[in-house]
């Protein structure tokens, strides 16, 4: 029973990791951009939420109403003004520019908020739990997992049922031909980054409610997101959720054996899957 409980917690934690991963997956899928600063943007969103909570008196969940639109706009501008200039056949410019951004964001946060760790408190909701059979499940982890399902479902609808989604997929296939259809790549890339940032900000707020954070915790989140994407197989959003769940379960099982093994266990499972199934568990057949 205790193990089942651990397993369930791992699955729910996977929802948070899937949220870290979705943004990466979007950016890579649509514009072949791997954003090394992804994790630092997650933490940036956590700090934005912290400011909204402290200065406007919002609850952490309510701060999403401000943080999400803010990060959406930030993402759009970042892509249009900076990252679009780095895209091309050479992988070096986007990689190194986002790497530079990662170091910049970390140190800016350090300068403004110091290295002290922070946490957002969602009051009673954090300790509330519901019983399923003999298991007791936290309400917050359920909300996080539910949000992950909603986000992925919503994106799936956007991709397959709307004109914008078609434009995303067409651009992903062949951006030059997409332009011939009247698709403005620069704008589409901006929107993709904006969407990724919107998801990032939700993940950032949930992260900040779940654990304490400081300016240096971003890179680890990038790695979790990246591992979920690769485990799931590139190009599949539901695969990404599965990747997140596998990583979450590996981490909670590792922590159960020895608390020091939590993160290490996740990394080792990732490397193992990379050796056994280099294309991930659920690769998209077309690519």
């Amino acid at each position: 029973m205790e193990w089942l409980n651990t397993l369930l917690q791992g699955v729910l934690l996977g929802g948070l990791y899937a949220m870290f991963a979705v943004g990466l997956s979007l950016m890579f899928g649509i514009m072949r951009l791997v954003n090394i600063a992804h994790g630092d943007f997650i933490v940036l969103a956590s700090y934005l939420a912290l400011m909204v909570v402290n200065h406007l008196g919002f609850s952490p969940l309510a701060s999403l109403l401000i943080v999400v639109p803010l990060m959406f706009c930030f993402g759009y501008l970042l892509q249009r003004l900076l990252l679009n200039r780095t895209l091309g056949t050479d992988i070096l410019p986007p990689l190194l520019v986002t790497f530079g951004l990662s170091i910049i964001v970390q140190n800016v946060l350090l300068e403004f908020f110091s290295a002290d760790s922070q946490k957002l408190s969602q009051g009673d909701l954090e300790v509330a739990s519901v019983g399923i059979g003999n298991l007791s499940v936290g309400v917050m982890p359920l909300i996080v997992f539910g949000s992950a399902l909603l986000i992925i479902g919503g994106l799936q609808l956007l991709f397959y049922k709307t004109s914008l989604g078609r434009a995303f997929r067409a651009t992903s296939d062949d951006q030059h031909t997409a332009r011939l259809m009247g698709v403005n790549n620069a704008h589409i890339f901006g929107l993709a980054m904006a969407l990724a940032m919107a998801v990032v900000s939700i993940a950032g707020v949930f992260l900040a409610i779940r654990t304490s954070f400081d300016p240096t915790v971003g890179p680890a989140r990038l790695l979790y997101g990246f591992e979920a994407v690769i485990i799931g197989g590139l190009g599949s959003l539901w695969g990404t959720l599965a990747g997140g769940v596998i990583l979450g379960v590996a981490q909670t099982l590792g922590a159960k054996i020895d608390p020091g093994w939590q993160i290490l266990a996740g990394h080792l499972v990732f490397l193992l899957i990379l050796v056994v199934r280099p294309r991930g568990l659920f690769p998209r057949s077309v690519d």
């Binding site: 791997v34 090394i36 900076l82 200039r85 780095t86 992988i91 070096l92 410019p93 986007p94 990689l95 190194l96 520019v97 790497f99 530079g100 951004l101 170091i103 910049i104 970390q106 140190n107 800016v108 350090l110 300068e111 890179p219 680890a220 990038l222 790695l223 990246f226 591992e227 690769i230 020895d258 020091g260 093994w261 993160i263 290490l264 990394h267 080792l268 990732f270 490397l271 990379l274 050796v275 280099p278």
Partner: protein, 344 residues
């Protein structure tokens, strides 16, 4: 019949130019001055030169990896950390003399890099970069679990072993000074000769197009593996030396992304990626910037990051690239020029 009257011209592949002759001479002079430095320079300056030497060696190795072989790693801190930890292990557990242990650490790191390569080579391009980072984290977290090596808080080099390096502080520092200098110069030399060899041509072709060079008979996997292992081993030697100088090691210091990879990447980008001169110029610029800004704490990393980002966008060829474009200079004779002279 014309050929008999007009003898065919002589073709010669020329590599040295006037600027490279002058440049190498100047560089040689600098090296001589540096080797005499312990006779006249103060302790702080010598330490600065040691630091300069190991950053130059790290930059040269990252440049070989990313700039010449197209393998952009953001996980080189793995090898710095491993080098450092292996040194501590070899010296404390097996009683191996520290200086010899520095070299042996490098060899062992190179061996460890082989299985690492087999895993991360499964990832391409930017994913390779993040994969190398995961590997570095695995080593960091793994070593933090080993309580015999001090666990998360690390350990210091025992006094008995410190005395093995040299009896007094001056003696130790002079020894480390010459070792650092030798490692940096050898790093530049090994990259130089590697690139001038057949392997260098193979590398250039892999960077331009991996499938095409594969189809032309270049064993791309072996070439990349060789470069990756060489860079890892050398980075390991530098790591061992760094922690021999620091006398203390902990997982967070040994596998520090900012110190051992971010700074190195910025150095190479600012100096000029894909050139031998770039890391040299970049390291000089880095030390000047750091000297001016270090007292501002985090602001200095922000400025360094901004400079690197702007450089990547506006002048991806780096400072040395700009200089050699404008003036046609080269310090290291790398280019091949065909000179045609009529037969006398």
């Amino acid at each position: 019949m014309n050929a008999l009257n007009n003898p065919a011209p002589v073709y010669r592949v020329q590599r040295t130019t006037t600027s490279s002759t002058i440049g190498l001479a100047l560089l040689g002079l600098c090296v001589l001055v540096l080797f005499s430095a312990p006779l006249w320079a103060d302790r702080a300056s010598l330490r600065l030169v040691v630091e300069f030497a190991y950053y130059l060696a790290l930059a040269q190795m990252w440049n070989l990896l990313a700039g010449y072989a197209g393998m952009v790693s953001v996980g080189q801190q793995a090898f710095v950390g491993l080098g450092g930890y292996l040194l501590f292990m070899l010296a404390t557990r097996f009683g191996i003399p520290p200086l010899f242990a520095v070299l042996l650490s490098g060899v062992l790191v190179a061996l460890l890099a082989i299985p690492t390569a087999l895993i991360v080579f499964r990832l391409r391009g930017a994913y390779f970069a993040i994969g190398t980072w995961v590997v570095a984290e695995v080593f960091r977290l793994g070593l933090a679990q080993m309580s015999s090596l001090g666990g998360g808080s690390g350990q210091s080099l025992p006094a008995a072993i410190v005395r093995q390096i040299g009896n007094d502080r001056d003696g130790r520092e002079t020894l480390i000074y010459f070792t650092a200098l030798a490692i940096a110069i050898a790093a530049v030399a090994v990259v130089f000769f590697l690139l001038r060899s057949r392997q260098g041509l193979a590398l250039a072709s892999i960077r331009d197009s991996e499938p095409a060079s594969g189809s032309l008979g270049v064993d791309t996997f072996r070439t990349k593996l060789m470069v990756y292992v060489l860079a890892a081993g050398w980075t390991g030697v530098v790591g061992a030396l760094i922690f021999l100088q620091k006398l203390r090691i902990s997982p967070d210091a040994a596998f520090n992304l900012q110190d051992w990879t971010a700074v190195v990447i910025f150095i190479v980008i600012i100096g000029g990626i894909g050139t031998l001169e770039g890391p040299l110029i970049g390291t000089l610029i880095y030390f000047v910037l750091r000297g001016c800004l270090a007292q501002y704490g985090a602001v200095y990393m922000i400025i360094l990051g901004v400079v690197a980002v702007v450089m990547m966008l506006k002048a991806p060829q780096g400072v040395w690239g700009l200089i050699s474009e404008r003036l046609g200079w080269q310090v290291f004779p790398m280019q091949r020029r065909l000179s045609i002279q009529p037969r006398p």
